[in-house]
Structure formats: structure tokens, C-alpha cells
């Protein structure tokens, strides 16, 4: 999981200007700075709004599906970041009012900025109107009786694949394929409608036909949707139900717990007393019979899940198998961990290769962390021939 990057504030604001520039530039070039062209959407003569909007939605959606398939990002983690919660009542009514305002003003809030920037006075008026409307409702929404309506029926983050009861990993892919198919079908219908109404169109708002580039886009989007399905079939060991057991060695777990704790979620399923007494740093104590309470099937898949039992488990517990991300079992369970982490490692002989010294440092670090020793184990002997000067400082084991 690499994305989203989430840069620090100042870099983020620079990104905002760059992203906004792209947004404004494309909207203008699509013709969205011209009110007649936008309004023509609602008279059927120019479906550009629909075409641009849906191809943008399908492109971004399939991009996310492919990024998830390649494990660069997790669809639901990004979606939880970006989308607002679903409040069906206010959203249906808000959408209806926004559509009405759209055809009256000739712009939507985003395109009114583009129109204003290209000198259209009516665009400037719409920008001012949107600002006033936002201030008006934001001033009322927290007071009764407006508050009851404004917060009516909050369902939290809710997605189409959840509504259809599809599994968390395959769900977004399946719905995306259906949306792509529907979009391409609607594009073809829109082309026919425009052709039928071409005589009625006025000069300022004439539709641009799909042509060859349009057909290429249809083919490209369909191909990307198919690729998403293929990516889903790639062996990742994460398919719920028939999940194979993937074991994680103690050393690999230790490395991850110490160097990238934000990437792993360690769940200790031993009974509460044993876990409270001694456990792997950063792990959660959740006895096996209570594992269902974590609702792992609905959890974000950003981190890899590691299950720690008393001894070695032969298969992934059912509740954990539903987790949408990777799931590992700790090899040898907690007993194996104790034998690995609590036994003092033997210092490597002088002249040992760097990898062995590194391993010793790591094991010594784990041991001192696990036993709560004040003094660290003896430092490794100096390497025979220091080839290159190394930076000082080796963490707690140094």
C-alpha cells in the first residue's frame, strides 16, 4: 500500500493548485465555460456534460480498481478518505435543487469558476450566488428545525457493492465493470439522441460527435475494466473463504513490528490473561471467541493482518479469513515467538558478514525489548575490514 501519499500541508497546497489547474483547464477545453453548451444537456441537443462526466467517473474508478489490483492503494481506504457519508434524504433533495439551479444559472459551481475566469459576467454572478447560498444554508443547518432535516438518515460511508452484499475485495471490481458497461451503452444512446435532435441544436451549443477518438475511449475503458477483473484473479492469497494459510516467520514479524509498525496489525488471540501478561509489542489482545467483534470483513485493508495464537495454527480463523487484506499466521505461535525472542542470541564471531551482524543487532534489540532488560546485550565485535565509513547510531541495540 503506497497511496494516498498525503503530503504535508505546504506541499499539499502546491498540489492543490496543480490539480486545480488541470481541473480548470480540462473543463474549459471541454466547453464547460459556455453556459449554452452546459444548458443544452437538459434539452437533449448536446450531451457533452453527461459524456465528459461519465467518462471521467469511469476513468478514475477504473484507475482506482487497477491501483488496488496492483496493491498500490486500497479502494475502500481511499474511498473512506474522499467520500462523505451517505444521507439519502438530504442528498436526493439537494441533488434535485442543484439540478434545478444548474439549468437556471447555466453552470454548476465548478464550471462557474471557469466561466468567471474566462470573462463571462454571468459566470461571476453564479460564483457570487453559490457563495451566498453556501453561507445561507451553513448559517441555518445547525439550528432547529433545519438541523433535523440536514442530518436526516446518516448511514455513514456506504458503497454500492455493500448495498448489493458483494464481498469487500471483489465488490468494487464487479460494480466497476457493470458501471463501465452501462456508461458505454449510455454513450452510444447519447450519440443517437444527438443525431436525432441535430436539426434543433443552436450554433453556440453543437455536440462534438464521438468519432474515432471516442470509439478508442470506449474500447480503452472496456479493456481496463476487463484488466481489473484479471487483476482480481491474480493469486494474492486473500480470497475470503478458500484462503490459504500463509505463515510469517518470527524474524519477518519482528522486522515489520520494529521498522514498519504502521503496515501491520497484530492480533493476539490467546486468552486475555496470558496476552495481558506478555505479548508482542503493538499487538491487540482479542481472544479467539471474540474475534468476530472486530468485524474484520468490513475493516480497511491497508495493513497486513497477523494472527498470533498460543501454538501454531493450522488454518486461518474464519473471522480473520474474511479480512480484505493479506492475512498471516505467526509461525510457531506465541511459544515459537518466546523461544525466538527471549533466548539471548549468540554474538557473531569477528569478521562475520554484515548481514549476520545486522541479524544479531535485530535479535538483540527484540530480546531487550521483550525481556525489559535495562542493559542491552553486548555490542557485536567490529567488522574485520570496515570497507566504508558507516553512519553512527544503531538504535536501541547499538
Amino acid at each position: 500500500m503506497t497511496f494516498p501519499i498525503l503530503p504535508a500541508e505546504q506541499a499539499g497546497l502546491l498540489v492543490a493548485v496543480v490539480v486545480g489547474f488541470g481541473f480548470g483547464f480540462v473543463l474549459e477545453r471541454a466547453g464547460f465555460g459556455r453556459a449554452q453548451k452546459l444548458a443544452a444537456q437538459f434539452y437533449g441537443t448536446d450531451m457533452t456534460v453527461f459524456k465528459v462526466m461519465f467518462s471521467a467517473i469511469v476513468t478514475a474508478m477504473l484507475g482506482m480498481v487497477l491501483a488496488s489490483g496492483l496493491r498500490l492503494a486500497d479502494f475502500k481506504t481511499v474511498a473512506d478518505h474522499v467520500t462523505s457519508s451517505t444521507l439519502l434524504g438530504p442528498m436526493i433533495i439537494g441533488g434535485f435543487l442543484l439540478g434545478a439551479g444548474f439549468v437556471v444559472s447555466g453552470y454548476c459551481p465548478g464550471t462557474s469558476f471557469v466561466a468567471a475566469a474566462s470573462g463571462k459576467v454571468d459566470g461571476v454572478m453564479t460564483v457570487l450566488g453559490v457563495m451566498a447560498g453556501q453561507l445561507l444554508w451553513a448559517g441555518l443547518e445547525w439550528r432547529e428545525p433545519f438541523k433535523t432535516f440536514h442530518d436526516w438518515g446518516d448511514r455513514g460511508n456506504l458503497y454500492l457493492w455493500e448495498l448489493l452484499h458483494l464481498p469487500p475485495r471483489a465488490g468494487p471490481v464487479i460494480v466497476s465493470l457493470a458501471v463501465t458497461a452501462a456508461a458505454v451503452g449510455c454513450f452510444l444512446a447519447a450519440e443517437r439522441l444527438e443525431k436525432a435532435l441535430a436539426a434543433k441544436a443552436d450554433a453556440a451549443a453543437r455536440a462534438t460527435p464521438a468519432g474515432r477518438p471516442g470509439r478508442l475511449v470506449f474500447a480503452g475503458l472496456s479493456a481496463a475494466a476487463v484488466l481489473g477483473i484479471v487483476a482480481l484473479a491474480l493469486p494474492t492469497g486473500t480470497r475470503a473463504g478458500a484462503r490459504e494459510t500463509v505463515q510469517l516467520s518470527q524474524l519477518d514479524l519482528a522486522r515489520r513490528v520494529f521498522s514498519e509498525p504502521w503496515d501491520v496489525r497484530v492480533v493476539d488471540v490467546r486468552d486475555l490473561k496470558a496476552c495481558a501478561a506478555k505479548r508482542i509489542p503493538g499487538s491487540e489482545c482479542v481472544p479467539l471467541q471474540e474475534l468476530g467483534k472486530l468485524r474484520l470483513a468490513d475493516a480497511a485493508a491497508g495493513r497486513d493482518l497477523v494472527i498470533v495464537a498460543a501454538g501454531e495454527l493450522s488454518e486461518v480463523p474464519r473471522e480473520a479469513a474474511a479480512y480484505p487484506g493479506r492475512v498471516y499466521l505467526l509461525r510457531g505461535g506465541f511459544q515459537g515467538w518466546e523461544a525466538f525472542a527471549l533466548a539471548p542470541p549468540a554474538p557473531p564471531p569477528a569478521g562475520a558478514p554484515a548481514s549476520e551482524v545486522e541479524l544479531y543487532r535485530l535479535r538483540a534489540g527484540i530480546q531487550s525489548a521483550m525481556t525489559g532488560m535495562k542493559a542491552a546485550p553486548p555490542p557485536p565485535p567490529p567488522t574485520a575490514a570496515p570497507a566504508a565509513p558507516r553512519k553512527a547510531g544503531g538504535g536501541c541495540s547499538g
Binding site: 480540462v26 482506482m64 492503494a73 439519502l88 439537494g94 435543487l97 457570487l128 447560498g133 453556501q134 451553513a138
Partner: protein, 169 residues
């Protein structure tokens, strides 16, 4: 570059380009594109210069002032204005004018633009976003609310279209 004010990009290619901008916003910032949230932030800034006490006693205004997301949206709007300006200049569409159909006066058109904007401002606040922030950004991530919103936006537009036909045709 050829400057023909009546020549636009192929809508599907423009859509793909817009989708890629949106995808970049998702992957880099973990955010979507937006317009109305930035409007509110700018409106609150304007109110705070005239009547700072009104901002202090209205929680949604205070939240907009302090929200990092709203701040991001304002910078994004600067980018939109800049991008729109450059694109309009290079395509020969940069001109001070009022866009309208042939059967309506300039004054009425401007009044309707303001009224429609006001209605959309309220609606975008109720719907938690506008066509960019809710329908586009939420729709591509398959949010149920975003899809409901998107359909009713088109519904509202078609329902109202007949009433304002004199404005456009």
C-alpha cells in the same frame, strides 16, 4: 496553436483527462475535486472582515475557517481559475461578455445566473457537495449517496428545463 472559439476537445477524451486529474487527487492527496466547499471558505473569509462576531457564533462557519480540507479547496480553486484562464486565452474564448440564449435580456440573464447560483449554493450544502465534490469525486468511488445525488441532479435539471426554456432557446 489554432484559436477557434467554437472548437472543443472530444468530450470522451476530455472526460478521460478529467478522470486522470481526479485519480491524481485521490492517490496523492486522498481527496477529490471540489468547488462549493471552497466557495464557503471564501464567503466566510469575506464575512469575517465585515462581521467577525457572526463567524464566531456560527459553528459551521468556524469549522470552515479551521478546516484544512476547506483550505486545500481554496487553493484548488485558485488553480481552477488559473487553468480556466490559460485554456480560455489559448482557445480564443477569453472575452468579457454575458452568455445567454437569443430571447432574453442581459439584466434578466444576470439575475437568473445569481438566483441559480444561490439555489445551487444551498443545494450543495444540503447534498454535502456539488457536481464536482459529490457526484464526480464520490461517484467514481461508488458511494451510494453520490450516485443518488447524481441522478437527482439530472432529474432536477430536466424537470426545470421547460420552465426556463426562454433563457436558452
Amino acid at each position: 496553436m489554432e484559436r477557434n472559439p467554437d472548437k472543443f476537445w472530444n468530450p470522451y477524451l476530455a472526460g478521460v483527462a478529467l478522470g486522470l486529474v481526479l485519480l491524481a487527487a485521490y492517490l496523492v492527496m486522498g481527496m477529490g475535486l471540489g468547488a462549493s466547499g471552497g466557495s464557503l471558505r471564501m464567503g466566510v473569509a469575506a464575512v469575517s472582515t465585515v462581521a467577525p462576531e457572526a463567524v464566531a457564533r456560527t459553528p459551521p462557519y468556524l469549522r470552515a475557517m479551521q478546516s484544512g480540507h476547506a483550505n486545500w479547496l481554496v487553493y484548488e480553486i485558485f488553480g481552477v481559475l488559473l487553468g480556466g484562464l490559460v485554456a480560455a486565452y489559448t482557445s480564443g474564448r477569453l472575452r468579457a461578455e454575458v452568455l445567454k440564449g437569443p430571447r432574453i435580456g442581459t439584466g434578466s440573464r444576470l439575475a437568473l445566473a445569481l438566483a441559480g447560483g444561490l439555489l445551487m449554493g444551498v443545494a450543495a450544502r444540503i447534498g454535502r457537495g456539488c457536481t464536482s465534490g459529490q457526484a464526480l469525486s464520490g461517484g467514481a468511488l461508488l458511494s451510494v449517496g453520490a450516485w443518488a445525488f447524481m441522478h437527482t441532479v439530472f432529474g432536477g435539471g430536466y424537470a426545470m428545463a421547460w420552465l426556463v426554456r426562454k433563457e436558452w432557446r
